[in-house]
């Protein structure tokens, strides 16, 4: 029999301060680990971090580019956050994002030049929400009425969406494909009147819209009767049933809402910086990254905003680091480190780790930085 050096016990409700501290500590620890790695490989960590911060936040152009990169991540992050909070395991934000882009570009092209912006822009954005919700519904309806596993179906539908988009551009003469560029299959540009205007360097109002939508998601979940019922379902389906709440309907609602947010990310990206259904610009894993953003934001739709900005900044710093002779893989590694620490932090939020009272000696110091 070995004596137990630590006792791990469920914490019950974690304090708000702890919930905020753990992700911050995760980021800090990741930077420390990254610094050790950089030092070992012969680089000055301080210089590297200064270069990263300078690239992403050191100039007005850097800031605007960071916010451009953050915009789709805010919405794919919200898509994952609202779903996971209700125990809807929608990991299909990637596919829903692409379908949102397909719908948005399709409507933009169909509307043509004649439609005034005041009409075209909202319609194109909403088309993305419909596309995302539609793609989610293919998983959601069988889940709710037949009990299929949404983890499998949403995951697989990601690949179908990707290949469908590629087919529209590379494999066919679809209306999405630009007939004027025979040199290479490209997306047909949507009309200028359907493009969201820029207001700060290259940054368009899509960022503001995304941030407002994140707040709206928080409001819907936290402050409305519908949101309350949804949260009851998320906590205990039995309780909800007992209270007379229609569980399948709530489940379906959350699933479609999640898909709609991912689709909005697609339409804002198409109507914003990309301007066409361009597979090379869209196939960046933004939906998958959204899951990570949501996790770091502890599934809080408002917290998703700063986390998405951080991820956007990390993303943009990558090429700049290469210009000071740091391999691109280092940035990927830093991102990975932050996430691993965040996931580890999850454990410390959910559980308390302490030493047994009667055995004070011998045990090495607990690495409970996050639990302190």
């Amino acid at each position: 029999m070995t004596t137990r050096r630590f006792i791990v016990e469920p914490r019950g409700l974690a304090s708000a301060r702890l919930t905020l501290a753990v992700p911050l500590i995760a980021v800090l620890l990741a930077l420390v680990v990254g610094a050790v790695f950089l030092a070992v490989t012969g680089n000055n960590p301080w210089d590297v971090y200064v270069k990263m911060a300078d690239t992403s936040f050191g100039s007005s152009r850097g800031i605007s580019e960071t916010l451009i990169s953050a915009t789709p991540l805010i919405l794919t992050g919200v898509a994952a956050a609202v779903a996971f909070k209700m125990l809807v395991w929608n990991i299909g934000a990637e596919g829903q994002f692409l379908m949102g882009a397909v719908f948005a570009a399709g409507l933009g092209i169909a509307l043509g030049d004649g439609t005034p912006s005041a009409l075209a822009i909202p319609l194109v954005i909403i088309a993305g929400a419909i596309g995302g919700a539609f793609w989610a519904s293919i998983s959601a309806v069988p889940k709710v009425y037949l009990g299929t596993n949404e983890i499998i179906t949403t995951l697989m539908l990601n690949f179908i969406a990707l290949n469908f988009m590629n087919y529209l551009i590379f494999g066919s003469s679809s209306p999405w494909r630009d007939p004027l560029v025979p040199q290479f299959p490209s997306g047909r540009p949507i009309p200028e009147s359907a493009r969201i205007p820029e207001f700060f360097n290259r940054l368009d109002y899509g960022f503001i819209i995304a941030a407002l939508l994140a707040v709206l998601a928080w409001f819907l979940i936290s402050k409305t009767k519908w949101g309350f019922e949804v949260r009851v379902v998320g906590d205990s389906a039995d309780t909800a049933r007992y209270a007379g709440i229609s569980v399948p309907r709530k489940f379906l609602g959350v699933f479609l809402m999640s898909g709609a947010f991912a689709g909005l990310a697609g339409s804002l990206y198409v109507a914003g910086p990309v301007g066409a259904l361009d597979p090379r610009s869209l196939d960046l894993g933004l939906g998958f990254t959204g899951i990570i953003v949501a996790a770091l934001a502890r599934l809080n739709p408002v917290a998703v905003i700063p986390v998405a900005i951080l991820m956007g900044a990390l993303n943009n710093a990558g090429p700049a680091l290469q210009s000071i002779q740091i391999p691109a893989a280092t940035v990927t590694m830093l991102q990975g480190a932050i996430l691993i620490f965040a996931v580890a932090g999850e454990f410390f939020i959910a559980n308390r780790v302490r030493k047994p009272e009667k055995k004070p000696a011998g045990a090495p110091a607990a690495e409970g930085a996050g639990a302190a």
Binding site: P10, Q183, R280, S323, Q325, A329, G336
Partner: protein, 375 residues
């Protein structure tokens, strides 16, 4: 919060894996950026105080260690470094598409006066970046758009394709040559057509079967595509891809291989026949000298075998002396201009004679190709 169970963690792990996969190709680049520039580029971060040194930047879609397309350009950058007073910044694995505009603008803001983008999908983002940095010279490989401070450059790979086709036509015993191709675009179709004409010059019964991968650089996918062609009866594999995977697949199956971009003999020494290869160095040097002298102007440059931008790799051991003699004779004719690899008129896939047309918007296959020119 205690409802966050193992499922959530499992999904997170899955998401991480998917993000890593989506970042594709980022993983073979551990020790590349500084391969041979270790001593001279320490001042990169500071912006440099030496007014004489020209800052030049390269942006590649894949890792320069691919030993293929990006590596060939990187060799050109090495040549430039060795022959001019320049400070070279190389960015690799930069995705194409609208996001790349930021990367080009970052480089321009960093003081680079000459910026090369070596993949087709950088074209429009580079054009947009060039408009914002009118004092910087931008050069885009393989594209067709240009601007007041942006030119483009490419070379007649089809000349080398024709010659490597001759080697492949002589090598095939099943009379079926497999061709692993990236995208159905004019550049690739040109290469396939010239290659096929070369195959059939030495072996009129042989045919060339094409499969599309929809990627420039994805070794597993390229290898799978090559295997599907071998399974269909091909005993020689050609490719328009950036990795050596099709060759390694051919080597494992005992088939032959005609590569692309660089001399890749080392990856499949038995399978290796030859390949059209690139020599970008002198062009890069000329561009840098023009920028340094203040005489740079955007051009649409199309190099060829005569000016040395396109060349033929060394032959593999299995290529017979007779075949080599035949190929070298053709090569001499191509260089002196007495032989054109793509004739006008030309016979298309259905056996009908047609006008060659503008080869830069070529959208058809020639006789002897099996497959669809639209992907």
């Amino acid at each position: 919060m205690n409802r966050m169970n193992w499922r959530f963690l499992a999904i997170l792990a899955l998401a991480l894996a998917l993000v890593a996969a989506a970042c594709g190709g980022d993983d073979d680049e551990t020790a590349t950026t500084e391969a041979s520039g270790g001593t001279e580029t320490t001042a990169a971060a500071s912006g440099g105080g030496d007014g004489e040194t020209l800052k030049v930047a390269f942006v590649h879609v894949g890792p320069v260690a691919d030993k293929g397309w990006s590596w060939a350009h990187d060799q050109g950058a090495e040549y430039l470094k060795a022959n001019a007073n320049v400070e070279v910044t190389t960015l690799e694995s930069i995705p194409e598409g609208s996001d790349s505009q930021r990367v080009f603008e970052d480089l321009a803001a960093d003081g680079n006066m000459l910026i090369f983008g070596t993949s087709f999908g950088y074209m429009e983002p580079m054009l947009a970046a060039a408009a914002n940095y009118p004092d910087v010279a931008f050069m885009h490989a393989t594209g067709f758009m240009s601007g007041e401070n942006m030119g483009n450059y490419f070379g007649a790979a089809e000349e080398g394709r024709y010659l490597s086709g001759m080697a492949s036509g002589a090598a095939t015993e099943t009379n079926l040559v497999g061709y692993v191709a990236a995208f159905p675009i004019p550049e690739v179709l040109r290469g396939i057509n010239a290659f096929t004409l070369g195959v059939r010059e030495v072996n009129p019964d042989a045919q060339v079967q094409v499969v599309w991968t929809s990627t420039w650089f994805d070794p597993p996918k390229e290898g799978t595509a090559a295997q599907s062609l071998l399974d269909a009866g091909a005993d020689v594999i050609a490719m328009h891809q950036d990795s050596a995977a099709p060759g390694q697949t051919a080597e494992a199956a005992g088939a032959k291989w005609s590569g692309y971009n660089t001399d890749m003999t080392e990856f499949a020494p038995t399978a290796w026949l030859t390949a059209p290869i690139w020599d970008w160095g002198p062009f890069y040097l000329a561009q840098a000298e023009a920028v340094a002298a203040g005489t740079w102007a955007p051009t649409n440059y199309y190099g060829n075998m005569a000016d040395g931008m396109v060349a033929l790799a060394p032959f593999g051991e299995s290529v017979s002396a007779d075949t080599i003699a035949l190929i070298e004779e053709r090569q001499a004719q191509i260089i002196d201009g007495s032989f054109t690899v793509l004739p006008d008129p030309i016979v298309d896939q259905d056996g009908n004679e047609r006008a060659l047309g503008d080869i830069f918007i070529m959208d058809y296959f020639v006789e002897g190709v099996i497959g669809s020119p639209t992907g």
